[in-house]
């Protein structure tokens, strides 16, 4: 389990002096007519746990395979530790990869699988013994060293794959959907284990995943990708709270998107705008982080948990909307209400269930007020 310990904030990406371990400069990869990666720039720093997140086909795996050396960029340059790796074949890179299928050698024992990489660099025998033992300990596989991959469970196989790819102490470890084959419960446990191992070994991890929850849990930074482009690179919190596009906002968690036309709010604080989104409704009051022109079409993204549901408008919050509950999703600790506004627009709002069910305040067909503050949502222009 990850230990909660006081530590200095780890944010080398904010340090202009810090030298990235991996630099991708204007990387483009085309397969025939198809552009898999479109002019990507990316810095990954030492000891980072970096996630490439996106739906399947977004190019994240291609990007990872270029880092491993299995694909070469059509254009652009990748440097690892300051060295241009264009001419470095995969077996000469200080990069190891954990494959989605684990790619364990079925004819070799767990021990031999882990030792495979060490033997290839002709490490001395006792060094191999020592290192493999260390890896087995790290992944709690000591008891299974003599077993063949088909004789152990899926979770154990996953750990063998991890141990094997870490055995050579690579500068960079690439993990392709490392938890994809595990069931949900095991996946959550393993996420923490991965973080723990990453922290203990101090290796730079780059994980490829389509599971936003997984990316948010494990990564220090997340790159959200779509159709060969990186939409946003930020910490999980920033990605969630400050998405830079409707795509990112929508991809990560639940969000209400209110589309409207912006106009500066007279006398408001800096950047404050009104967003008119429906006839007869009060405009949404919001704060734009980037300048917005008069009448520009904008998207207001607000998370359901940022909206309160009440019988009366909450006077402490600047935004109000009136509507009728048409659906309630009861999830135990929280309930999500689907509220239909007069314009027909559906808004989701999440309330914690601090009270018992029988004394719940709202039910279907109730007419309620939704309230939220000016800074609860973000103004997006794309």
């Amino acid at each position: 389990m990850a230990q909660v310990k006081p530590q200095i904030v780890f944010d080398p990406w904010n340090d202009p002096e810090a030298k990235p371990l991996i630099e991708c400069r204007s990387i483009t990869k085309r397969f025939g007519d198809f552009t898999a990666i479109d002019n990507i720039n990316l810095n990954i720093y030492e000891k980072e746990f970096f996630a490439l997140l996106g739906p399947s086909g977004c190019g994240k795996t291609t990007l990872m395979r270029m880092l491993a050396g299995f694909e070469t960029p059509t254009e652009g340059k990748i440097t690892i530790d300051g060295q241009d790796v264009a001419q470095v074949p995969p077996n000469k890179r200080a990069v190891n990869m954990m494959f989605q299928s684990y790619a364990l050698f079925p004819h070799l024992s767990v021990w031999e699988n882990i030792a495979f990489g060490l033997k290839r660099e002709h490490a001395p025998k006792d060094r191999i013994e020592e290192r493999v033992a260390e890896m087995l300990r790290l992944t709690r596989l000591e008891k299974f060293a003599r077993r063949k991959p088909h004789q152990i469970s899926g979770g154990q196989r996953q750990r063998v794959a991890l141990a094997r790819s870490l055995a050579k102490a690579p500068k960079l470890l690439l993990l392709d959907e490392p938890l994809g084959a595990l069931d949900k419960k095991l996946r959550q446990d393993t996420q923490f284990e991965l973080m723990d191992i990453q922290e203990r070994t101090g290796t730079t991890f780059v994980i490829v995943t389509h599971d936003q929850e997984e990316a948010m849990t494990v990564a220090s930074r997340v790159a959200v990708m779509d159709a060969g482009e990186i939409m946003q690179i930020a910490t999980p919190a920033d990605i969630y709270e400050q998405p830079n596009s409707v795509y990112v906002a929508d991809f990560i968690g639940d969000v209400n998107i209110i589309e409207g036309n912006a106009s500066p709010m007279a006398g408001g604080p800096e950047g404050a705008i009104n967003i008119a989104y429906a006839e007869g409704q009060d405009p949404v009051q919001a704060v734009a982080t980037t300048p917005v022109a008069e009448g520009e079409k904008v998207f207001y993204a607000i998370r359901p948990e940022k909206i309160t549901v009440s019988h009366q408008p909450d006077p402490d919050r600047a935004n109000h909307a009136f509507g009728k509950i048409i659906d309630i999703a009861y999830l135990g600790n929280i309930s999500t209400y689907r509220v239909q506004l007069a314009s027909g627009k559906l808004i989701s709002a999440t309330m914690t269930n601090s009270r018992r069910l029988t004394r719940r305040a709202f039910t279907w067909e109730d007419e309620v007020w939704l309230s939220w503050t000016r800074t609860a949502g973000v103004v997006l222009t794309k």
Binding site: A68, V95, M97, F99, S101, A103, F116, G117, R120
Partner: protein
């Protein structure tokens, strides 16, 4: 339910008994008899009409003389050894030719594979004899191969391939190639390409990845293919008869001579029984390999 299972299980066993065990026992019985000028040309024959007495009488007349006879003439063990050598070498050559073919087939894009598989199986659509005769046309002194090489100017006088052991090896490799290609292809096809990538990722070169991963992964296919070639090649008669010279000594030819020229069914049967005993070793090994493979896959 249990009865149904019993029936299902008994089907392959009945098959085995009817098509292997019974004929084999008949051959064993003949191998313990002595020749006679009669129909059939050996004695004693089992006369079931006389019941138990007839059976006892039959048993008392059996003898192992034919097997001791086989040890007295060096022809037989030389023929067995020569057959083993020819079968082993041609299995090796077949493997060397088949592996790259199977490897290539498993690596080409999916849409090509049915066509390639088809091409491998296609020769089976023509009679085996016709194909061997075609090789006679290719390999003979005036044949296509010599004509072509002479036209190229590589050679000035024809190569003598036809009626030599070389032609036998060519014939066996050609005939049994599909039996080697298909199991190796099946093994390689099943193999996940990411295993090779993993090996390369861990520092192996492409070549050592082949030795350390691809080859061991296709091991079962290679073993299956080798047995499928070796076992029939050992008793091969037609190919050495048509393509080989008279100096190509194989047990199949010796068997034919015993049976047809000497009309000595008992000795011929003894030769066949010994051949089968020799074959049982690789067949049992093959069986064990298949079983292990199945266990590994389940």
């Amino acid at each position: 339910m249990n009865l149904r299972r019993l029936v299902l299980i008994s089907v392959p066993y009945l098959w085995l008994v009817a098509l292997f065990l019974v004929p084999f026992l008949i051959v064993v019985k003949i191998s313990l008899s002595t020749t006679a000028i009669a129909i059939p040309p050996y004695t004693p024959t089992l006369d079931l009409a006389q019941g138990w007495a007839g059976f006892k009488d039959f048993l008392s007349q059996l003898s192992f003389d034919n097997f001791t006879f086989l040890t007295q003439d060096d022809l037989y063990w030389k023929a067995y050894l020569s057959s083993l050598k020819i079968a082993a070498l041609s299995t090796l050559f077949t493997l060397l030719v088949a592996y790259p073919i199977a490897y290539g087939m498993a690596r080409v894009p999916d849409e090509w594979r049915p066509t390639l598989l088809m091409l491998i199986i296609l020769p089976f659509w023509t009679s085996f004899l016709i194909r061997v005769y075609a090789w006679m046309g290719i390999l003979s002194d005036e044949g296509l191969l010599n004509q072509f090489l002479m036209w190229l100017g590589v050679i000035s006088s024809p190569l003598h391939i036809m009626n030599t052991s070389k032609a036998v090896y060519i014939g066996i490799v050609y005939t049994y190639l599909p039996f080697m290609v298909l199991p190796i292809y099946a093994a390689l096809d099943k193999m996940d390409e990411s295993l090779n990538e993993a090996a390369v990722d861990l520092g192996a070169s492409r070549l050592s990845s082949f030795w350390l991963v691809t080859l061991p992964m296709s091991r079962n296919g290679v073993i299956a293919g080798c047995f499928l070639v070796f076992i029939p090649a050992l008793g091969e008669y037609v190919i050495p008869q048509l393509l080989g010279g008279s100096q190509t000594l194989m047990i199949g030819k010796v068997l034919w001579d015993e049976f047809f020229s000497n009309r000595d069914w008992p000795v011929a049967s003894a030769v066949a029984v010994v051949l089968l005993v020799i074959l049982i070793v690789p067949i049992v090994l093959f069986q064990r390999n298949q079983q292990k493979q199945q266990e590994a896959e389940s």
